[in-house]
């Protein structure tokens, strides 16, 4: 069962594969910058690991890298609680068993948190051992800011649960 109001920010990616690490970079930027009751975690993005982290969570904001063909650094926002993620953007996972599968498996099992938002940042290069490309690194602060604002809007209005705040 979901605990009332438990909020998780989850950054995904491989820290050693260039822009794949951007989800983690956003999570790191948000550490210490969010209300104390918001948990911030990072993981590699393997489906069953993500699934386990979604247990007992009421609101989850996930940040991942993607490759949909949009300009590098573009940040997409998806209401994954309402509809599946577009496969084209997320089919590039090394192991083919990643975020999309985790969300759909959670949905099939009735375990998807009531509010599940995914920020996907378009990557440019995924070379082993590389740092974030400058244009992708520049998107980190922007997405962190959007997540802060989104969480503030959700928690600042008394009497309404986080699910009520979706636009």
């Amino acid at each position: 069962m979901a605990e009332a109001g438990r909020i998780l920010v989850l950054g995904l990616g491989n820290p050693d594969r260039g822009d794949d690490a951007v989800g983690r970079a956003v999570a790191q930027a948000l550490r210490g910058a969010l209300p104390a009751d918001v948990e911030v975690e990072e993981c590699a993005g393997e489906a069953t690991d993500i699934l386990a982290r979604l247990e007992r969570v009421d609101t989850v904001l996930i940040i991942d890298a993607c490759a949909s063909g949009a300009p590098a650094g573009t940040a997409h926002r998806f209401e994954a609680g309402r509809a599946p993620l577009p496969q084209a953007a997320f089919g590039a996972s090394t192991h083919g068993f990643g975020l999309h599968e985790a969300i759909e498996l959670a949905r099939a099992l009735g375990q998807l948190p009531p509010r599940c938002v995914v920020y996907a940042i378009e990557g440019a290069a995924f070379e082993t051992g590389a740092a974030l490309s400058p244009v992708v690194a520049a998107a980190v602060a922007e997405v962190a800011g959007r997540i802060r604002a989104e969480l503030a809007a959700a928690t600042d209005r008394p009497g309404a649960g986080p699910c009520m705040k979706l636009r």
């Binding site: 069953t48 690991d49 386990a52 192991h95 068993f97 759909e104 498996l105 099939a108 099992l109």
Partner: protein, 429 residues
């Protein structure tokens, strides 16, 4: 002339990126190829010039699914080079850690990757809609394996607590107790898993592969043993290079392994089980018999039952180790660098994983060789693909394509860790 090509460009539900292609001409199989096209990762070259103590953490990075196997093969090979032998509780803890990896890796394959083939679903998500309880059990079982890795390895993937000589920190007896509670549930769940998969329908198939696995006098093999085969091979691990060879094929970034003078062979659960059935614990033997398995199993489709039996064994063995555990005085034995060559093979979830290291007197790695299970199985998988197509020539392409995919998935190939090149030449001018 009728020419028919069955091709899958991106194979789903395997670890890594691969493709296969079978060409049939006038009803005769012309070619059956499994291609692996992840970029080679040059781990062997990366290890050269590093200190021996770095090998476990570097090689763990080769695979996110079976990092423990890489750590275990590397530490045992390096300890052999240094003339170090580890026994007692540290040896037991290594075995416990390996049990964790078998549980999580096999549970993932059985439930998420392989079962959908038998129950007629495109994948785990579709299966979960109708078989939610089974999928939940599989996920929880996998998590039980992860808990062992987290406790002993320091984290779930790419454990950081393993070192040559032992561990950086060992758990107390008390710290292992919560794990025992989890594992008691897991052992029951594993038995249910064996019963669940035993009810699937299995095509008849008895490919005549030479089976190769470790064999230890009195344990089901994990970290130690001689290399034996179903056709009488029985060698010490340090004779591996004399009996096995690797060749590079243009279409694949993985090397093909063959037995010198023999040919294709098979490592993994079927080989382990068939060469070591009497060494399984009684509860695992009983479950295997109840599931209709004999003391050997050559049908690759039934490998899903063998994996389930191995999960049951791993839970049972983990509980035995925890029950008998007394913390050692020190978390690791002292190791001193010296020049030498060391060899080791351990049983990764997917089969025999061979490492060889040559060390300089100061402990620098002069040379490293790693032969992962999937590259050893590649030739046998291709033979199975050819046989599969030959046996199903009259079915439509879509059906045949799915049969071929299932044939590959029978072996749980870990394509990610099978990619490497034999040699990297650097000209530094």
């Amino acid at each position: 002339m009728a020419r028919r090509t069955i091709k899958v460009d991106y194979l789903a539900r395997v670890e890594g990126e691969s493709a296969f292609k079978v060409v049939v001409r006038d009803g005769v199989i012309e070619r059956a190829e499994l291609s692996i096209f992840e970029p080679p990762r040059f781990f062997e070259a990366l290890l050269r010039g590093r200190d021996f103590s770095e090998a476990p953490d570097i090689t763990a990075r080769i695979c996110g699914i079976c990092p423990v196997a890489y750590q275990m093969s590397s530490i045992h090979a390096i300890e052999a080079a240094l003339g170090v032998s580890v026994s007692g509780p540290i040896r037991d803890l290594r075995r416990l850690l390996y049990c964790g990896e078998w549980i999580e890796s096999h549970a993932l394959h059985v439930y998420m990757l392989h079962a959908p083939d038998f129950l007629g679903y495109a994948g785990a998500i579709e299966m979960a809609r109708d078989h939610g309880d089974a999928v939940r059990r599989g996920l929880r079982l996998k998590k039980a394996g992860n808990e062992i890795l987290t406790l002993l390895g320091g984290r779930e993937i790419h454990p950081i607590n393993v070192r040559v000589g032992g561990f950086y920190r060992v758990p107390t007896r008390r710290e292992l107790q919560p794990l025992a509670e989890t594992l008691k549930w897991a052992r029951d769940a594993a038995l249910e898993t064996v019963r669940w998969v035993a009810g699937f329908k299995f095509p008849d198939a008895e490919p005549d592969h030479e089976l190769v696995a470790l064999r230890h006098p009195d344990e089901y093999p994990l970290n130690e043993g001689r290399i034996v085969s179903s056709r009488g091979l029985d060698i010490a691990v340090d004779a591996y290079d004399q009996h096995f060879e690797e060749t590079h094929l243009e279409r694949s970034t993985a090397l093909h392994s063959r037995l010198r003078g023999g040919g294709a062979y098979l490592v993994g659960p079927l080989a382990r089980y068939s060469l070591n059935f009497p060494r399984l614990s009684p509860v695992a033997q009983d479950a295997a018999r109840e599931a209709g398995l004999g003391p050997t199993c050559a049908n690759p489709y039934r490998s899903i039952i063998v994996r389930a039996v191995e999960v049951l064994y791993a839970c049972d063995e983990a509980l035995r180790i925890i029950g008998a555990y007394e913390a050692p005085d020190r978390p690791a034995v002292v190791v001193e660098p010296r020049a030498g060559v060391g060899y080791a093979a351990t049983e990764a979830p997917r089969g025999l994983l061979y490492h060889r290291y040559r060390l300089e007197a100061d402990g620098t790695i002069a040379d490293a060789r790693i032969v992962p299970p999937t590259s050893q199985n590649q030739a046998s998988i291709e033979a199975d693909l050819a046989a599969c197509v030959a046996g199903w020539l009259d079915v439509p392409d879509a059906v045949l394509r799915h049969r071929c995919e299932q044939t590959v998935r029978n072996y749980d190939p870990c394509i990610s860790c099978s990619t490497h090149f034999l040699r990297l030449e650097l000209d530094r001018g």
